[in-house]
């Protein structure tokens, strides 16, 4: 631990403007990628060592031959993010099977000054799950056991590498569900979900992970295992440290186990795909739904007509639920309750009333699970459809609900016919997914988008990253949503823990911004 402190202070001394202003040639990745200007100004910190054959032998001793991957071909996927925007040059990936192995690896890396990056399902959208340079990738994929499940309380304890969809299937058999649901559920792992404080489609009903995670087991950068894995609903015995790790994006430690409260699976689920003539109706519908459907509302998503068009064009198997007419906005609204006939009656009455009141111009109600899946396919398939359409500039913003769509319209005016500006997201949580689709990546277009989007968001006191996290993409944008005082405390506070090496980059970038402004 002491050695770490020394190293940290050492690193601090290197935070000079010179170090950062030195531009480096983009030596990583090509691939159509338009990286935000950030990464091209970071230099690989010379204090970090490089992997040598002794290191590899040592890891093989700890993990066994199979779980140490240093074959370049096999590392290609691990080095690149899902968006194909960020490519690292790691030469080594480790796949520990137990917390003890993670601890040993980190202890060793710490002693050798080897940079690491934790990687789960690699479904992150901000370049936070892949190496920036040649960090060692520590994959949690082999830690995928379910440790325990209490059928009475619904408390699940599992390892960080459990894939979300697998947890959903397991819980389904027990009569429970996961409190979060995302399009990436087939690949994303719970450790990563927790580390990024993932939101998803059901946050409006079940709340965020800060409420549902009851405990964590985390391995710190020097190998110390922090056991905060409780299964208690209430525990007011001092600062609740686990909250620091939820959403910390791997910067403070590697999550190895998660204890989560899971809601019971309710039998009556209804899904409606609705059309609204303008954004104001969407907002009024949301308010009415919260009031009239109240406790049974479980999801409230919106997409604009550009989003629907894109999906119908690029996503396989997508079918327009309202083919007979064009509408401006679409809402996907789900209810979950315990009484089928009561819920259906309540929902139908609400929908018909809303239609009579002019809030909804048309809509369909899914009559079976297949129809419901096809409606969700449209909403969940948007990221994939956007990738297929060409280059995409993706922004995940929290904004006051009445202002949300104004930004989409302003971007349309700003960019003109050069780009297809698409808006969708978790209307129930005031979270806009602004996506700008163009045939190719183009610096000129990026210049029109950034920093305008961030400035606009900041002006309305919104968040420049509602649920995706900062990662490499937005690390230096933190000041658009957090005051310098807050950030300085975050930074200082983070040095109290043995720091994970990888996130030097994230924090360094944030710190760079601080060093540009005077702070008290």
């Amino acid at each position: 631990m002491e050695k770490w402190r020394a190293t940290s202070r050492h690193l601090l001394r290197h935070f000079s403007k010179d170090l950062f202003d030195r531009r480096m040639s983009p030596s990583f990745g090509t691939f159509n990628r338009q990286l935000s200007s950030v990464a091209t100004t970071i230099q690989r910190n010379p204090l970090f060592s490089s992997i040598n054959s002794d290191d590899i032998s040592h890891f093989k001793e700890i993990l066994g031959e199979k779980n140490v991957i240093h074959d370049e071909e096999k590392l290609v996927t691990a080095n690149m993010d899902w968006m194909r925007k960020y490519r690292g040059s790691s030469k080594l990936m480790l796949q520990p099977r137990t917390t003890e192995e993670v601890s040993q690896i980190l202890k060793y890396c710490n002693s050798r000054c080897l940079a690491v990056v934790p990687q789960g399902g690699n479904t992150g959208l901000v370049g936070g799950s892949v190496p920036v340079f040649d960090e060692v990738i520590i994959s949690t994929s082999s830690m995928s056991k379910i440790v325990s499940f209490d059928k009475v309380s619904g408390i699940l304890v599992c390892e960080a590498g459990c894939i979300l969809e697998n947890l959903v299937s397991f819980l389904d058999n027990q009569g429970f569900i996961m409190p979060l649901d995302l399009g990436a559920k087939g690949s994303c792992q719970i450790g990563g979900n927790v580390s990024t404080n993932a939101g998803g489609l059901r946050l409006v009903r079940y709340g965020s992970l800060h409420g549902n995670v009851l405990g964590l087991e985390v391995v710190l950068a020097n190998g110390t295992v922090l056991d905060m894995l409780r299964t208690l609903r209430k525990d007011n015995t001092g600062y609740d440290l686990k909250h620091l790790f939820i959403g910390s994006e791997g910067s403070l430690g590697i999550v190895s186990k998660v204890s989560m409260l899971t809601p019971p699976k309710l039998s009556s689920v209804n899904l409606a795909f609705l059309a609204c003539k303008d954004y104001s109706s969407c907002q009024k519908l949301l308010l009415a739904a919260k009031r009239k459907l109240g406790e049974i509302l479980s999801a409230f998503e919106f997409l604009d007509t550009q989003a629907l068009d894109l999906v119908l064009k690029h996503l396989e198997g997508a079918r327009n639920p309202l083919p007979t007419s064009m509408h401006n906005f679409y809402i996907l609204m789900e209810t979950t309750g315990s009484n089928e006939s009561y819920d259906k009656e309540k929902l139908e009455a609400f929908l018909l009333h809303s239609m009579e009141g002019g809030l909804i111009s048309d809509g369909v109600l899914a009559q079976d699970i297949n129809q419901a899946s096809s409606f969700w396919h449209i909403r969940e398939g948007l990221p994939e459809a956007l990738m297929k359409a060409g280059a995409v500039y993706k922004y995940d913003l929290s904004l006051p609900v009445e202002k949300m769509y104004d930004l989409v319209e302003e971007m349309r005016i700003r960019l003109g016919p050069a780009a297809n500006v698409v808006g969708y997201g978790h209307l129930g949580d005031s979270n806009l997914h602004l996506n700008i689709s163009t045939p190719q990546y183009d610096d000129a277009i990026l210049a029109q988008i950034e920093p305008f989007v961030y400035e606009w968001t900041s002006k309305h006191h919104g968040s420049i990253s509602a649920e995706h996290g900062l990662g490499l993409m937005k690390a230096d944008k933190i000041f658009y949503s957090k005051s310098p005082e807050t950030v300085s405390i975050i930074l200082v506070g983070s040095y109290l823990l043995p720091k994970s090496l990888c996130i030097d980059i994230v924090l360094l970038l944030a710190f760079k911004s601080i060093s540009m402004t005077k702070f008290p």
Binding site: M355, G363, V364, D368, N370
Partner: protein, 206 residues
Amino acid sequence: MVAIKRVVDYAVKIRVKPDKTGVETTKVKMSMNPFCEIALEEALRMKEAGLASEVVAVSMGPPKCVDTLRTGLAMGADRGIHVDVLGALQPLSVAKLLKALVDSEKPGLLILGKQAIDDDCNQTGQLVAGLLSWPQGTLLPSTDLRLNQPRYATLPNILKAKSKVIKKCTPEELNVPIKSDLETVQVTEPPHRKAGVILSSVDELV
């Protein structure tokens, strides 16, 4: 006239009841049989093309069948008939009931889904045709999954469906005695597929 059946939703993972007398159906999502849905869609298209003047949906079973009939009405059927019967219905009984209904309602065409996904019998169509001495085209009008894509139930149609009529009748009123000739002895899951074994050479196999 289209016969529609309320079955366990196609997408649900079926579980056998612990006492092995059948499949778990309580607290499980029930929906219209997919083949029946296609049959109904076809009937609606015929009406829209001017080939039929009215589409009548028929369902047999416990009171909950009315929900399935409502879906049918929301898709566009003009009226519904619910034959109130409790307990399991074998294809022959269904066929006899359908014959009775056809005799009283006199539809020009009877369309049935090819099979119900719960018992997979694929018998009712043929049985009814036999009873009625009507010509029957298996797989058309006994419909299979590739025939069409059923429409969704839109809100305006759901509203209209509320005022459509569902007539209730019983087997007694139709003069059809229901008796079951078949008895389910036991229901078990199919044996789990054993994991395959990867062999390194043909010799190992032999």
